[in-house]
């Protein structure tokens, strides 16, 4: 029993003024413990919807999601989520943000303190522990958000385009950092992105999704050795293949947008 996340027969529909949108259709996916999986696709392909369903924020209309053998019915600290918008609590200092999950678990103050200190050190945030989020850059904030989730010691990390709002250099250094943490701590990671390069750089498996209805178009295992070199011919071959897969979905997405605007 080494599956971490099992998604079987999941459908998700949303009612809208223009009719029912099928966001997810017949999704079946099995993720092993310690695997790093990227969900890749254009916006509107349902990759965030799928992530939110695993997180328990918005349950599937049909089908079942199991995490470590338990059906998902609500959000929980066993599936830590990192949001693109950081979602740090601005009224808490960096240390308070990182320790909040432990406070909720009612750990003794001294334990929280030492755990938080260790995590801040791991993410090179120690000197900012008493600062408020507004004093930090985007990259620093996302480090804090990652530390906050790691504090929970959850076996699964869910990441919703976590580096999408960062500049290229910061993004790259956080990707390195994430890989280091992932290999050190052996977490299962489900990572949503629309960046092909990011997915090749990070993932063991890349799950390409189609635009409405959101289905799994292809499930690709990445076997390139780590650390991955984005200049290598193998990297670029995979990048070209994925580009083709994604761009036809992107074209459908743009078509749909254009139609929606002209019929309005």
């Amino acid at each position: 029993m080494d599956s971490s996340i099992v998604i079987s027969g999941v459908n998700k529909t949303f009612p809208t003024p223009h009719g029912v949108v099928v966001a997810l259709q017949d999704i079946n996916l099995e993720i092993r413990k310690g695997e790093f999986v990227c969900l890749l696709g254009p916006s509107g392909c349902g990759k965030s919807t799928l992530l939110n369903a695993v997180a328990g924020f918005s349950l599937p209309s049909q089908g079942l999601i199991k995490v470590n053998g338990q059906a998902v019915t609500q959000p929980g600290p066993d599936r830590g989520m990192v949001f693109q918008e950081y979602a740090l609590f601005p009224w808490m200092t960096v240390a308070q943000n990182v320790g909040f999950g432990l406070e909720i678990k009612k750990l003794p103050k001294a334990d929280i303190r030492s755990r938080v200190d260790a995590l801040l050190k791991l993410l090179k945030l120690s000197e900012f522990s008493e600062r408020f989020p507004r004093d930090l850059s985007g990259g620093m904030r996302q480090r804090v958000a990652i530390a906050r989730i790691l504090a929970l010691d959850s076996p699964i990390l869910l990441m919703d385009e976590p580096f999408g709002a960062l500049d290229a250099l910061t993004r790259r250094s956080l990707q390195d950092e994430l890989l280091r943490i992932w290999s050190e701590l052996g977490k299962t990671v489900l990572f949503v992105t629309h960046s092909i390069e990011e997915s090749i750089f990070l993932a063991d498996r890349i799950v390409v999704m189609t635009y409405r209805p959101g289905t799994i178009k292809q499930d690709i295992r990445v076997t390139l050795p780590r650390p991955r070199d984005s200049a290598s011919p193998e990297f670029n071959k995979l990048k070209r293949d994925l580009s083709e897969l994604v761009s036809s979905e992107q074209a459908r997405h743009e078509d749909a947008e254009r139609r929606a605007l002209t019929t309005d």
């Binding site: 997180a55 924020f57 609500q74 959000p75 929980g76 600290p77 599936r79 830590g80 989520m81 949001f83 918008e85 979602a87 740090l88 609590f89 601005p90 009224w91 808490m92 909040f100 999950g101 909720i104 678990k105 408020f132 989020p133 507004r134 906050r148 929970l152």
Partner: protein
Amino acid sequence: MTEGSQRFKGVLLILAILGLWETVGLLGWVNAKVLPPPHAVAIKWWEYLAPQQPYDPDSGSRLTWLLSGELIQDAMGSLYRVLAGFIMGTLLALPMGLLMGASRQIHQLCNPLLQILRPIPPIAYIPLSILWFGLGNPPAIFLIAIGAFFPVLMNTIAGVQAVDGIFLRAARNLGASRSTIFLRVILPASTPYILTGMRIGIGTAFIVVIVAEMIAVNNGLGFRILEAREYFWSDKIIAGMLTIGLIGLAIDQAMSLLNNHLLRWHRGLEH
């Protein structure tokens, strides 16, 4: 233009107006009974402030004696009413606002009633408050509580409704219970709105106290300036008005300090 020289110009304007006012009096252009010159107001203000009896060690400490002046007694009376009414109004408005902001059902239930009551100015409650509570502090505090209640309530509701859903999702993801989310996320996230409401509320309370004192009680700054009118003491009226202005300013400054302290995490601080 430096800030220092701007501030200096502000002081200069005040001095210029005082000078003009004094000159108008000196030249006899206006009757001193109608508009007394600033120096007469200053003298009266001092008399009003200073203790009325010479110091007598038998009747109490020196501090009590120093505070025995009529102005200080009036100011303390007014401040007591403002604080009592404000605290009462806020203590009612805050939990109600949090509930109405957080629960759509409670909002739908209470909102029509509130929308009808809200436009009634606190002053319009004067006759009823006297019928219900008689004269003295109770009707005044009741009116002030009404004055403070609505601004705090409305802003608290708006504050809770404006809490970004992503904070709630992040908290649920960390395993927070409903009560933890309420106390540790919704409450702090809506403090900027709540404090704005409290600032407006205490301003309203200060307006209402002056009116209430003119009608229901026989001390306090509002009572005193109305009393002074009956004796045609225009210097005392103006001295009382200036005191009201200074205390109002002090209250607002204190609120602003509290604001800056509680919201030191917040972007775009008010100063």
